[in-house]
Symmetry: D2
Subunit: 393 residues, 4 copies
């Protein structure tokens, strides 16, 4: 287990959202902490100023950096000496509250780590791309599943041609936690995800289909050029779709099949991706993330585990432990934070970014995800194939 | 291991097609033989008369019942005393050669066991339905996967409501054997399956998608009312589609996803069906047919194995061995032959058919399968959702 | 699916034991029937003459060959014309009733297929070896697990050195069906297996440990030279051990670990064998018999399935279906019957036995198994390591 | 993801050993860091004073707390104000160097976290028990596998009687990394583990068998009363055993089977424990730590996953994420650090220790482990069963 970045002082970040009721905020904090490369230095943990400040103090922040709002945080931090000031803002609010704090943070010169989907409207995502570029700030969208070492191994194997021509991509993200009308019971996670005003135009595709879409693009290096979507709401009383399937076509001739569900009863967090090529196939499952199943034309399977000899340099660079010592969700999530930290450290010291250290999802990935959601919703409404090419502005 | 039907003399059948190069003919014969309920009494094993006769003799038939053609067989057998004459004709020719011998056999008073798809045209399938009914003859279409005990267990569990309301059906049949242009190399199985004149309008959907379609209907008891298909030919030079995906909608509100592939490199015979209901899910995989995976809303899985206590009577009736003694493809196939035999024995002795003994795919199932193939091809050509209701004539 | 031995008329056998209450008799009959190489021509299915005759008739035998006892059967068959007479006797009685009918059958010139363990006393097994040799008759002991194609693949891979030097053999046969005092409830299978007078000196080791012992010898080609056993009776009131573990040492320096249990609650028929060599490892599990797991020093696993390219000729010769079409317990059992049939056919026609056709367990294997059981019991009683070399007489 | 202990300032620890070449030191540091409950405040990371100091500085310690030796560290820290001084010493040196720093640390009033095996001699372990008690200091031995939530679930299920009477315990810890004479190639981990002067009397049993032994005791709540061991060195030139099997007997009548190997080629970190009881069985595998397999007498399996409803409070208390979000080795390891921290916080604030917060291996567990190793070595040398009762002094 290498001690990455040892020696350099940790980067300081401020968090927007992510109070005690939130699930993902705590994951971000643990991921940031794991490698000792980041330290939580400020926060605005709620949209309620009093609660925001109280949460901040409870998390160990000094009271003057436990802010009542993200606006206060940006102002307060800007007033500090650069040696004290946060360097990045982590945005973990509900979807509709990503855009404004992210834009303000970028304009104020902070780097941004933002949960997905980037925004609820494509024009917003594209504006953030422009603002980030204009201010030379870095954006990381936490499509965290791409942080798993064996996902990176999959990407490398396809890139180097092990599978021949990619023909069929099957990606599935199934969960069952919304099989009942949980949002009617006041469950906070369900409530905002099921509200179009907070979640954006899609629930199943927006919340988890967007991860599946990113993963397929990350592993294959290809993006669909047309698609047909079928969305459905199974649970009565629900305002948004809780299940959707998208057929994908690629310029290369490949076809894709993406299905996402929140009503797949009993599924916990079943994200699986298979790629069939002319010379082989691969198969990865998030619930068993340490293994990559490779299939030869003969039908013989090879199961490669993380930590064993023979992995690509890219996979190896994202591992902490030898084979057989399971690394999981937090470790993969931490790989994004680690890479952002290393990239920022390299920039700060005017060194070249290390190999693979720039391997994290960017603002462009975020915008592409938002475009995918909008395009799929459009296809579903028309019941027809639609153009799916995304041309970055 | 019960000795089914012991005591009654075995039923006599004649086979059309299924010579030494054929794969499925030998399977039919082994399946018929396994329980001692059938005996091969005649055959016309090739479209070439000399080869047909030679094969028959080589298989141990007396030379006068090793016929040169199916027409000769039907004539020759009709001339025999009923106590000698075959009672059923088994049709295992390429698809385009099912219709004529099956029709003639039915007209001549023989029962028919026919491989799938029933015919290459819906009007043909429907004509066979009428002829069978008119002659009071039984037809069994060998959608053999429905013969597995744990498939039957799945059907029973859904029928009795264990899963609540069925919401999502995901069925996949993936093979990789046609990832190259095998038909150009003279491989007999590939050649006729890849030739529209012999296989009918579809290859991937016709050959294996039709099994997936039947299985979904058998297990859920529901049939789609509209569908959208996307078919594709990945291998250059191929005349037919080698991969296809079909989105399904049901009147109940359920949705389905069916994908079939012959270019899923490395997949051997990957037929998997999952059903997500409001109260639970189930999952069955043909390559591991002894187990049925049931998932509770909590995510806890229950794996039920064949041969253990607690199975439904229907599943139990189709088992031969105690738990942990794997039964496979031939045993499942044999369940169809066993049930047909028992049904015929009951008819012959004017007894009621035993419970579950009429559990085999019929002519109507065959016609429905042909209708599905035609409808999917039509949807693919139009790129749109189409009506998929099948109303038997 | 090749039609093995097609053309030759099937071999005729008579069965001793195996009436309707018996489990294994029906398996033997199905296995014999599967390939069309054997036909049941006579039988003495019970030690009760009336029941024996009634069972025979119910199984479709003519009444003059449905014998009242095995002695009657041997006499009656000897009186028939050789073209009618049975050629082999299949002994499927409880263990203590193997010796006498097998000896008489061999003396009378019949070949013998006998269930395991061969006998309940080593001197008996060795006498049968001598009688078989003296009469030039063939004996097959149905250690049926060695009939699985992937077991044969394992044997070949070790024989050709893929694993380097064999260092550690771990073989486990666990069942849970005797976790309660089933023999006190009149369950027939449990009753005789739990009675020393019928089962011999051991229950868990005798009934299933002997399979594990044979399998380890078959796959590795090595036999232990010393051993230490620890046997135990967990269920109160039971007359014999229901669980046992044996440590094994081999001359090569390899070590073995064999554990057998009838009280491993919930285990159905869990026979698993792993071999660790200096250059690799292999792993086979009877409940998933179509796969052989091979492990490289790096930890990368290769899963080879039956029916795929790249298998050894020996494995391939024992397969009936292409990959992904599960073959199971009956098919493996049938491989023993098929090989015995082919060997006898070759002898009858003075042809050389085909490659692998003599691959079935012999009288020597049977005697070795009985010796193992006796040696383990002896070690357990003394609580010490004992010599385990078996020198055939 | 709860933020455990939030609010309280982190505990300060100093590390002995665990420099950049060491594997386990970095694991300890990450585990300590994960929950934000500990901070590395001092260290003596090498037996070479210059390297020790350089490593400390490189890890971000101030130079006056990057000590040249553990003696210096204990002296230096004792001289600091209690509000600055470390509160615990973490000992991650090779085995033979645990005793002296641990004893000195305890005597100096520091709590101790020590890797396993506790010591290389039982008298040393027992002396540490006494010193800890005399100084009222806490000792935690990092038998980290007991930190997995599903291990705790297993323990709870047995304790509450789900399995009935425990009959058979099978525990296996197999690795393959020492299949060659790695210690001759200068690999640091292999070198000291293969040297009796540094590792103690046993290698395979000492390094990994001791984990298996602890796990079996933790889960079943039982300790063996007699044992028989067979140890073996497979790799030529190796000074210590690289494989060993131990038969265990318990007072309750239960039997155990423990096997540990470093030459199980291809195994990565295969620690598996099965328990068979009169009413059910359970099965846990470290390489798939999120699941607990439970087997009913019928053979039906129930797979319980971490994070799902229905887990015991003890398991739940040791989870950080919802189901389907894999937690791994570091998280389990961190559970020990978390519990020690919470126990110390409770002591400091004179609160009762929270439920399950005292759930970590103690000095007594450490001594019991050393006794097991010594007893097994003694049995192996004598080739006989030996008494295995451990009576704490």
């Amino acid at each position: 287990m290498t001690a990455p970045g040892v020696g350099a002082p940790p980067l300081r970040y401020g968090m927007v959202g992510g109070g005690p009721d939130a699930f993902i905020g705590a994951v971000h904090r643990a991921a940031a902490r794991l490698d000792g490369l980041w330290t939580l230095a400020a926060g605005a943990f709620s949209s309620n100023p009093d609660r925001a400040r109280a949460h901040g103090v409870a998390m160990g922040l000094p009271s003057d950096r436990a802010y009542g709002s993200w606006r206060d945080m940006l102002d307060g931090e800007a007033a500090l000496d650069p040696s004290e000031r946060i360097q990045a803002v982590v945005v973990v609010t509900p979807n509709h509250l990503h855009f404004e704090p992210a834009r303000a943070a970028l304009r104020a010169g902070f780097h941004v780590v933002c949960d997905k989907p980037f925004t609820t409207r494509l024009d917003h995502a594209e504006e953030l791309c422009r603002v980030a570029a204009a201010n030379d700030r870095l954006v990381c969208i936490t499509h965290n599943y791409s942080g798993y070492p064996m996902v990176k191994e999959a990407r490398e194997r396809i890139a180097r041609g092990d599978l021949g021509t990619v023909r069929k991509v099957v990606v599935e993200y199934s969960q069952g936690w919304l099989r009942t009308l949980l949002e009617a019971e006041g469950q906070k996670q369900a409530s905002w995800r099921g509200d179009p005003a907070q979640a954006g135009p899609s629930s199943a595709l927006g919340d988890i289909g967007s991860h599946a879409h990113h993963l397929a693009g990350y592993i294959t290096g290809q993006h669909p050029t047309s698609l047909l979507a079928d969305l459905v709401t199974h649970v009565e009383g629900r305002a948004m779709e809780d299940d959707g399937t998208v057929l994908l076509r690629y310029d290369s001739g490949a076809r894709g099949l993406l299905t996402a569900s929140q009503i797949a009863t009993g599924e916990r967090n079943h994200l699986r991706l298979r790629v069939y090529g002319s010379e082989g196939a691969l198969d990865w499952l998030q619930e068993r993330p340490d293994r990559l199943r490779l299939v030869a034309p003969s039908g013989t399977e090879t199961i490669v585990y993380d930590g064993v000899d023979g992995l690509s340099d890219r996979a190896r660079a994202h591992l902490r432990l030898p084979g057989g010592h399971p690394e999981g969700f937090i470790e993969a999530f931490a790989n994004l934070y680690r890479n952002v930290a290393r990239t920022l450290q390299a920039r700060a010291s005017e060194r070249a970014v290390g190999p693979f250290d720039d391997d994290f999802p960017t603002a462009l990935d975020g915008a592409r995800g938002v475009h995918f959601i909008e395009t799929a919703v459009h296809s579903h409404r028309s019941g027809a194939w639609v153009d799916a090419v995304y041309a970055a502005p």
